[in-house]
Amino acid sequence: MNLDFSPDELAFRDEARAWLAANVPAEPLPSMDTADGFVAHQQWERRLADARWSVVSWPEEFGGRGASLVKWVIFEEEYYRAGAPGRVSQNGIFLLAPIIFDHGTTDQQQRWLPSMATGETIWAQAWSEPEAGSDLASLRSTATAVKGGWLLNGQKTWSSRAAYAHQGFGLFRSDPSAERHRGLTYFCFPLDADGVTVRPIAQLDGEAGFAELFFDDVFVPDADVLGEPGDGWRVAMSTAGNERGLSLRSPGRFCATADRLLDLYASVLEPVERTSTATRVVDAWLRAEAYRLYTWGTVTQLAGGGDIGAAGSVNKVWWSELDVALHETALDLLGAEAEVASTWTDGYLFSLSGPIYAGTNEIQRNIVAERILGLPREVRA
């Protein structure tokens, strides 16, 4: 057991650190959920891609470095430590790309991956529906087979990045007679296709971070089905693990925030705010550190060919509650100044979504209880 990096990994870390130090914008970019901010973030993705930092774990032919999982986590730690911008291409790179690599055809890989790596095409996730929140298997939007492809109908909601994105991906019910989990098909489609209506929804922060999507006889060719028709549930479940587990919330982000929290604590001179928050400052740092070390354990397991399985749910509850705790503590430290909009208030509002999205924490706790602890399934009507 050790936590030491190899000379090769250390060299990779130094290269990443040096590049980030020289390239990360000095001023934070405007919110990616505004028109200007979206473009600014795309330009940042392009800059990352030109230096081959946008998709370090991908094969070189698609713009990556073929980096190991360990190196990927090292890069993520450096990325957030450097205060680099959030990734507007996150849905595509971390949720869709693994599916395209595993289930996509060569044609799909060549059509979709390069422009995803450069940030030219931004992808939005279209999973949730108005009547299907945590119960994803109850999706009702339909796909009807026609000559050469499918017609999509129905409605998706809470579709992240969809207000400005170019492409969407999601599940549609292609066989209404099949049981809940069966008869779903995984589709990719342009958001400007005929019959698609995008209605942006302002989030708590007032920006259009997500959107409703309406489908009215939207034609999608067979070539844009991911995996086999009817096999969408199985295909999609391999991304659910990614979202909850490692890929979306690398520990670097929380460790960087914990460091900023300590800086804030050290800078606050009000004895009342300091005394009343000291315990929570320590505990927030501690939980970020626990997450960092936990992730190295996960990486070791995965690198050894293991599977984290339902442990992604353990992870998700932890990081989402940690994120809220970090930001609530920071606002309490700021005292009356906390009412003024700042990166802390932005981060706080974003953190509030964590326990809700990617499967609510209630669903995650059920998964932990049933799949890890082996408790009986709840009786469901």
Binding site: L286, Y294, L373, L375, P376
Partner: protein, 298 residues
């Protein structure tokens, strides 16, 4: 970079767990609490044969943590932290592998069965004599006041303290894991309103929280074992104490009133967990030390 146990370490973990699983450690714990040391001392010598008393000097802190997690999981009695974690580093020239020793911190645990008793006075180690005993919240940790005698030559007491606090964290982790396992087993067989109580979300979510807390305490404990520093040790002790306390509280809640009885085995771990939260640096102490360390590094 490889942050999991090596095959050899996993093998050691299995052998110590097998040994303790085969022994009736709960009976030894109960007898010890009642003043009958016989079964506990037998257990002591078997663990010593396995090398537990020489880990602090002959192996790495990772092996120390493996052993103490097993001791916690099985509620084995005896001054293990004092004799096998603190004093071997505090007294580097003294061979403690074949004897039992204890040290007042501030009470000398199990001084009545120790071959030698020590006390720390003004940062120096002294030999000591046990005087009065006080009942403890965990009756299997018998507490003694001491009167200090002559100063003895000692090693790095800070390093000794950190290894002892780390061993305590590992023992808490083991206790938490045991309470969770026993609670899960219980809620699967206990029925109410016609079904197992473990099928109710109110029960499930509490136990899931325990699983999550323990899963994130473990890497802090073993991370600290790889690099023993005041910062890493305090972090490990804090999180392990919190996770074990959550396990104990939830364990008691899901057992209901049977868990609140002395006769139910759960009591062994509930009392041990509470005692160890206060031992080898209270939660407040470690939190204060961690914050000071973090701020000093800024």
């Amino acid at each position: 970079m490889k942050f999991t146990l090596t095959d050899e370490q996993a093998g050691f973990a299995r052998s110590i767990d097998d040994l303790l699983s085969r022994a009736d450690t709960v009976a030894a714990n109960r007898a010890w609490a009642a003043g009958d040391h016989e079964p506990g001392l037998k257990l002591w010598s078997r663990l010593a044969d396995l090398g537990v008393t020489s880990l602090a000097t002959e192996a790495s802190p990772v092996e120390v943590c493996i052993a103490f997690e097993a001791i916690g999981r099985h509620a084995a009695p005896g001054p293990w932290i004092e004799s096998a974690a603190y004093l071997p580093l505090a007294l580097p020239g003294v061979d403690l592998t074949e004897s039992r020793a204890t040290v007042a911190m501030p009470y000398a645990v199990d001084a009545d069965i120790a071959d030698s008793v020590y006390a720390v006075v003004d940062g120096q180690l002294h030999s000591a004599q046990a005087t009065d005993s006080s009942p403890g919240i965990d009756p299997s940790r018998r507490l003694f006041a001491v009167s200090a005698g002559d100063r003895v030559d000692h090693g790095d007491l800070d390093a000794a303290f950190d290894l002892a606090a780390l061993a305590t964290a590992a023992e808490l982790l083991g206790a938490g894991e045991r309470v969770l396992a026993d609670s899960v087993a219980y809620v699967k067989q206990r029925t109410q309103f016609g079904r197992a109580i473990g099928s109710y979300q109110a029960i499930k979510h509490q136990l899931a929280n325990v699983r999550i807390a323990l899963d994130f305490a473990r890497p802090l404990v073993f991370g600290a074992a790889l690099e023993v520093t005041p910062r890493s040790v305090s972090a490990a002790k804090l999180q392990a104490a919190d996770a074990a306390n959550l396990a104990a509280r939830v364990g008691l809640q899901v057992h209901g009133a049977i868990g609140y009885t002395e006769e139910h085995d759960l009591s062994r771990w509930l009392l041990r967990t509470r005692a160890l939260q206060s031992a080898w640096g209270t939660t407040a102490y470690h939190r204060e030390r961690l914050l000071a360390d973090l701020l000093a590094a800024r």
